[in-house]
Each structure stands twice: as C-alpha cells, then as structure tokens.
C-alpha cells in the first residue's frame, strides 16, 4: 500500500509545485516588467498584487469558451490539451532533491527532450485547426522554428551526457558534485539556453505570436480556458527549461548550508528572472534571421562542441 501511496503524494506535490510556480511566474513577470519599464504593474488585488493570479484564473473560467464554427473542432479542442499535458509530463523526471522526483528514469534526459518536442504538435495543430490566416502563419512559423531549434537542443546536451556517462538526471546532478557542468560545458550551456528560448517561443524568438504582425499567432482564435491552457503551458515551459538548465549545468540541488530543495528552487528562480529580463531587454528577431542563426551558427557550433568535449575527455584519460 505504501509503495503506491508515496509516489502518489510525490506526483501530487510535483504537479502542485510546478503549477504554482508557473502561475506565480505570470505575476512575477508582470511585476518585473513593470519595474524595468518604470511603471506599477498589477498592484491592486491582494498584497503586492499577488492575488492577481487567482483573479485571472477565475476570470479565465468564466469567459466564454468559444469554438469557431469554421474550425476543425476536434483538433481545435485537442491542441491546447496537448501542450499542457506534455509540459506537466516532463515534470516526471525533474530531480528536485535527492530522493524527491516522480520517477528515476534511466532515460530521463531523453524523456524530457521527447516531451518538449511533443509541444510542436500543439502549436502546429492549433494554428492549422483555427482556419484563420494569422493562426496558420503562426502555427507554421512555430513548427519550423521548433524543429530547427530542437535538433541542436538535443545536441548541445551531448557534452553533458558524455561527461556524466548517463541519461539519468540524478546521475548527471551527482556527477557535478565537485564541478558544475557550466564550466566545462559553457558552449553547451549557451546553446541550450538559446534553444530553450526558441522552444518556449519567448522573445527574441516569439515570432509565432508576434502580436504586432500576427495578432496572437497560433492562438488568435482561442479564448477562455483553452487560451488559458496555452498561456499556462508557456509559463510551465519556462519553468521546466529553467529547471533543466539548473539540473544539467548548475549542479541541481548542490549548494552549501541551505537544504537541497531550497537550493534547487533558488537556482530555478534566478533563471526564471533571467528569462523575464531577456524579454524586457531584447527586440524580436526577423524570421529569416532566426532560421539562418539556428542552422548556420548554432548547429555547427553544437557539433564542434561535441567533438571538442570528446577530444578533451580522451586527452585526460
């Protein structure tokens, strides 16, 4: 009985933590952007506007959930569910602390990559099913961008895998006890961060949603809770990418004095703030710049990174 109960509690806890931090991130982003743009941001609902998240969720529930009569209704309905479910599924392999993760898969890293590439179905299907020209363009851009950046997202992590000798995320964290992989795998870290930005389509890679030219891109026709799914899915993605950066390059739960789980969330928090700062700082790329940047610079760089890492490991032996 206990053997079933404990994982159940872990699953509920992990889901709760991820959803809470994703929705807190919505508030945090609005406050931080306001701070950097010299305005107030949400500050009316509750202390520091913290209850804004709850108010927004309630509003989302009560909004009309409109399915366009001209759309492909089944696909239109499935698309937002896919992005949320796959984002929540990636939580399975995140090692929050020693002995605290939903499962300890041997292929944890591959599982994460698989789930993050499933997200492309969601945006492509949403864009196509909406039967709206803006949505179609947004969906196509999103899928072309995501498949381009997915290739070297996986390749940039191979250096880490070579150093740790395992796909298991716990083993990878434990291999960083003495030296975080952000030092020997600095190039990998940079490539992974860029690919992560593109996978979650954040500025400067938010072409699929570019509101100044495509209204809202692939979710132009979405409203109510279905739009909410895309919205929360995006913030879940940011949280997950931050968690993966911490796990793979910044020693996961390792850190002095404070308990491991606190260290993990502190580090994740730093990277989430980094994501927001990037949004406040950078302009949007042009589409051709985005594609050629990925294929002409990032892909060869990640391949060269693998070879250099291999050569150094061999030389040290």
């Amino acid at each position: 009985m206990m053997s079933i109960l404990w994982p159940l509690i872990t699953i509920a806890l992990a889901l709760g933590i991820m959803l809470t931090s994703a929705s807190a991130l919505v508030w945090l982003e609005r406050r931080m952007l306001a701070l950097w743009q010299d305005r107030y941001g949400p500050n009316r609902v509750g202390p520091f506007g913290l209850l804004q998240v709850i108010a927004d969720t309630l509003k989302m529930f009560f909004k009309e959930d409109w399915i366009p009569p001209f759309a492909d209704k089944t696909v239109f309905f499935i698309a937002p569910m896919v992005i949320m479910t796959t984002a929540l599924l990636s939580v399975a392999v995140v090692p929050f602390a020693p002995g605290f993760s939903v499962v300890d898969l041997n292929i944890g890293l591959l599982f994460f990559l698989a789930m993050s590439s499933m997200g492309v179905y969601s945006v492509a299907l949403a864009g196509w099913a909406s039967n709206n020209k803006y949505s179609l363009l947004g969906g196509l851009r999103a899928s072309a961008q995501m498949i381009s950046y997915e290739v070297f997202m996986g390749l940039s992590l191979m250096g880490v895998v070579m150093l740790a000798g395992s796909f298991n995320l716990r083993d990878i964290v434990e291999a960083q006890e003495h030296l975080w992989f952000c030092v020997p795998q600095f190039i990998g870290l940079v490539i992974f961060c860029i690919a992560g930005l593109a996978e979650t389509h954040r500025i400067p890679f938010d072409l699929p949603e570019a509101e100044s030219e495509l209204v809202a891109g692939f979710h132009s026709e979405y409203s109510g809770m279905k739009f909410g799914m895309f919205f929360v899915g995006e913030y879940l993605g940011i949280t997950l990418i931050s968690a993966m950066i911490v796990t793979l390059f910044f020693g996961g739960w390792y850190g002095p004095i404070l308990p491991p789980i606190i260290w993990f969330f502190l580090k994740v928090f730093v990277f989430q703030c980094g994501f927001i700062l990037l949004r406040a700082t950078l302009p949007r790329l042009r589409y051709d710049q985005l594609m050629s940047f990925g294929w002409k610079y990032m892909l060869p760089l990640s391949l060269i990174n693998i070879l250099i890492t291999g050569a150094i490991i061999l030389a040290k032996r």
Partner: protein, 116 residues
C-alpha cells in the same frame, strides 16, 4: 514499475487539463453571434479560407530537420557510452560528423538555408 508512475502522472495531468476545460465549459456563457462567428482578421471581412498552399521553405526545413534529427539519434548512444569506448569510436564519430557537416555546407551553398 517506473513507467507505471509516468502513466499515473500522465493520467493525472490529463484529468486536470480535461477537468479545467470541462468546468469552464459548464460555468461559462455560450452566446454565439453572426459577427462573432467569423475568423478574426482585425475587422476586415475575411477573403476565402485559411487552408491554402503555403511557402515551400517550411518543407525544406522539415527535410533538413529529418536528416539532422536522425543523426542526433545516432549520437545519443555514442555519447552515453563514450567513457567505455576508445579512440577509434571518437575517430569514427568524427568522420560521421564531418560527412554531416559537409552535407550541411552543401545545403548552405545550394541556398536551402536562405529564407525567400
């Protein structure tokens, strides 16, 4: 057993998502209207459907993705077993990557990476 928990998580998250949508469906209003039921194009009446032929550039990038993602699938087992392999394995992978980089250079030269 591990995958059973993954399945459990999948079930729970799918239930959560479906539950949210169902709850919203129950409490939200449903008031369709003639204007509301047309595609959103910033107030302009839409001309034709959106399901049309589109730029071939996306297709080219799809093909490139296929090649390099399969290559990545070859690299994964090599990378994870790298500590147990010797210099020969490194050399072989170097040759493999060189061929692929040549392929990328060819695609680059042919203009497949240019967005037109």
């Amino acid at each position: 057993m591990d995958y059973f928990f993954v399945l459990m998580l999948a079930g729970m998250s799918a239930a959560m998502v479906a539950g949210g949508l169902a709850f919203s469906f129950l409490i939200a209003p449903h008031r369709p209207g003639a204007i509301k039921n047309s595609p959103y194009e910033c107030g302009e009446p839409p001309i034709g459907q959106a399901w049309v032929q589109f730029n071939v550039g996306y297709y080219l990038f799809g093909l490139l993705f296929l090649v390099f993602d399969v290559e990545a699938a070859f690299l994964y087992p090599w990378a994870v077993a790298f500590h147990g392999l010797g210099f020969m394995a490194f050399l072989e992978m170097g040759i493999f990557l060189l061929v692929l980089i040549l392929g990328l250079a060819y695609a680059w030269k042919k203009g497949a990476l240019e967005w037109v």
